[in-house]
Amino acid sequence: MRASGDLLMAALHSASEELSGKGVRFEVFARLGESTRLSRGASGILERCSSREFGVGCRVSGRDGAGFGAASGSGARAGREAARIALGTMLPAPDPLPPRSVLGATGTSLPHDVPESERIEEVLGDVAARVSGGRHGVMLVQARVLAGTSAAALATGEGFHAGAKAGGTVMELLVAPPEGPWRHFHFAAPAVSDLDPVTIAERVQETALLATRGSQPVRQLADVLLAPAVAAPIVEALVRYLTAASDKNREVRVSGAWHLTDDRLGPEGLLPLPWDGEGLPARRIDLIRSGEVGERLATWELAERFGGRPGGAVRPSYRHPPAAGPANLVVHPDPSTTQSKLLGRMANGFYLAVPAGAVRVDATEGRFGVQAAAVALQDGKPAATHPLVELRGSFRRLLAGLLAVGADSESFSLGCAVTTPSLLFRRLEIV
């Protein structure tokens, strides 16, 4: 197979050739992703998958309006197809393409190697043996690792060209404690070698046994301490809500404990990249800071239309045009606040240790809900365990109610990268 650089260049060239002379401004984005996925059960490997995904997305803009087309396939042909389709989708619309003068790249993109299947299998086997070993009775139901790299390139009809590389590894474990619901754990790291089987197994065993039995709590408003695994998807949902919210819904009371950035430059977080989804230089975007909702993530077009700064575009794949959204979220920790200090600040309330399922969002009402395993605390001491509680609330209350952040930051690969410590909130609804 051809090297990634050759493929990307061939696609950019063929699409540009197809679009040149058509009287349109254009942008071509090509991406090559290579990944390996392994899953194993208690008795051994269940599945091995290796995939190579390649595709091209084109945005065009001209007198007839704007359009977007994408195609997968083999190099130059995918580029030509994407260009042809994009021209066929043009509808009257404002020009969404940023001018050449604002495009550029900052920071560095780190080279990543495609991890070897044998190495992934070794790590997976080690984790499986450690999780299921011992007398605690925790059984591994399934373990999965997805490891991959991607190379992307972007070119415009006005001569801009940029490239970027990224990589990452996600490990997911489904375990059965001796009683109670099965638990799902998620770990993410830049590379397979960054996953430590000993730490992972210890964490899984400890947390899986935390709330295996108990009744449903009485419905109540309570202080809640969210472990990083529970906090991360809620933080992502909050940022997506703020990105789409009306100005009125962004003008709310905000706790001074929040410091949340989309740290696209890095080095914080899991996934820094040198440019945003439409080729603007990466920068650090303060989303919540100093008791205020900060900048709104915006594409060039949104910033032009509604005001604000562009540079907040993401492109989850070549199949989609760039859209405003988070890339590399970081909730800044408080190094002086240990877990015991956080628990100490919450005399009565719930500690939510591990999520059970995805966060549900009602975008029109600005509300969210998530299920988790919980420990009830009274006078700072564990009083009861609850295998499954539901945490509900409004994003408004989340913004206002953050009391403190911990020092125990962890990274997660969700709809975007999220790095967050434990978060302590005042009075959210527990059901």
Partner: protein
């Protein structure tokens, strides 16, 4: 080379067989075309389109996949020289339909409509099987809720709109509910569909493991997985391992009657395969539900509203936790009932119960049965496939409002 019909697949299958690739199980080709219309106040404001094609090979217990559908891609996945393969072609991508022709003016509450066409072929041994599926229409509403139909979408089949802000909060506690066909489909999809998927049965991750043949409810209910219902989104002519589609009874008169299997789990369970589905070319085939069709004996002629306190029209999701057997239904659209009449629109809430409470609490089924816009896209381990459903109304007790 492209033609309106696929060509050369049988010759290709023969050539691949001759090349004696070690451990080769099957080949899978797929083409998919999509169009997305973004809407605002009933008008199209933007359009996006995409074409995808890919090839997958299962060999030596691995799935190897790549974008592209041509000899070099296939040869690379097989680990052989490209010149040993004959030329072949997939059918041409169709032109995207016109939304205006299909629908006229879209309803004001819709924010997007997506059209999907797909074609696939499976080559196993010397056999080449073409997989046809219905064209799909996905509608998205203002609150992000998505509904799935066969193309074309009809304004009259619009999913329930988001509830008004003035909706009444429902009181927690045990309640008797009446589920409309769409909600019934989601409940049965979670209660009977997913848990009878062969990989979950083999793994012991289903409350129905080793219980086939047992009566699980008193209500004389039949549930069938029917991929031959081409009016529903989960239909296919052959499954994604090339087995010809056929209805598969899952529940017969309240008794667990069968399971869903791909070739691998069919062997373990001692049943026929035919339910393998792939979320795309980069996903391996797994036993998955297609269209859930439920019927009952002795159905009431109309929904028994006087016997229920809440009428549930639509759910946003349902889950079944395999270890604890807890069923959770997230209700999106519902009304409180009083003396058989709708009184208040209810704010979204959750219905919770155990598998035993739900199966034991099914009291009656009622007409008119109908197709539902849900469950729609069904996710399992992050892999998403289209599904459909057709079911009657159900009267159910034993669930608790939370």
């Amino acid at each position: 080379m492209e033609r309106d019909q696929p060509a050369g697949l049988a010759e290709l299958a023969a050539a691949v067989t001759r090349s004696q690739v070690p451990g080769l199980e099957d080949l899978y080709f797929e083409r998919r075309a999509e169009s997305l219309w973004r809407l605002a106040a009933g008008h199209v404001v933007a359009r996006e389109a995409s074409l995808h094609e890919g090839t997958a090979v299962r060999r030596d217990g691995q799935l190897l996949s790549g974008d592209g559908l041509d000899r070099p891609v296939l040869a690379n996945l097989l680990g052989i020289a490209s010149r040993t393969l004959p030329s072949f072609s997939a059918p041409r991508f169709p032109e995207s339909p016109s939304l205006e022709h299909a629908l006229g003016e879209p309803p004001a509450g819709w924010t997007s409509v997506r059209w999907r066409w797909s074609w696939a072929a499976v080559l196993t041994g010397r056999k080449a099987v073409t997989v046809t599926r219905p064209q799909l229409a996905e509608v998205t509403l203002a609150d992000g809720q998505r509904a799935l139909f066969c193309w074309p979408p009809e304004a009259s089949t619009s999913p329930e709109s988001p509830v008004a802000q003035t909706a009444t909060a429902v009181r927690p506690g045990k309640v008797r509910v009446l589920l409309a066909p769409t909600a019934t489909t989601v409940l049965l999809h979670e209660l009977v569909g997913h848990p009878l998927e062969g990989d979950l049965l083999v793994r012991g991750a289903s409350p129905w493991s080793r219980r086939i043949g047992e009566r699980i409810m008193r209500l004389p209910l039949w549930v069938t997985d029917d991929p031959t219902r081409t009016d529903l989104p989960g239909a296919f002519s052959a499954d994604d391992e090339g087995t010809t589609a056929a209805p598969r009874p899952l529940l017969a008169e309240g008794v667990l009657a069968g399971a869903l299997a791909d070739r691998r789990t069919a062997e373990s369970l001692g049943i026929e395969p035919g339910n393998a589905r792939r979320a795309g070319v980069h996903s391996p085939p797994r036993p998955r539900i297609s269209n859930l069709v439920a019927t009952a004996r002795g159905t009431l002629p109309e929904p028994p509203r006087t016997d229920a306190a809440i009428e549930v029209l639509a759910l946003s999701s349902g889950t079944l936790e395999p270890a604890s057997g807890v069923v959770m239904l997230r209700v999106r659209t519902a009304f409180s009932l009083r003396r058989g009449t709708r009184r208040h629109v209810l704010a979204p809430f959750t219905l919770v119960g155990t598998v035993d409470a739900v199966t034991g609490g099914l009291l009656a089924a009622a007409e008119p049965s109908d197709r539902g816009a849900e469950p729609g896209w069904c996710a399992k381990d992050g892999e998403v496939v289209p599904t459909g459903g057709f079911a009657p109304w159900l009267l159910l007790e034993g669930l608790e409002v939370r």
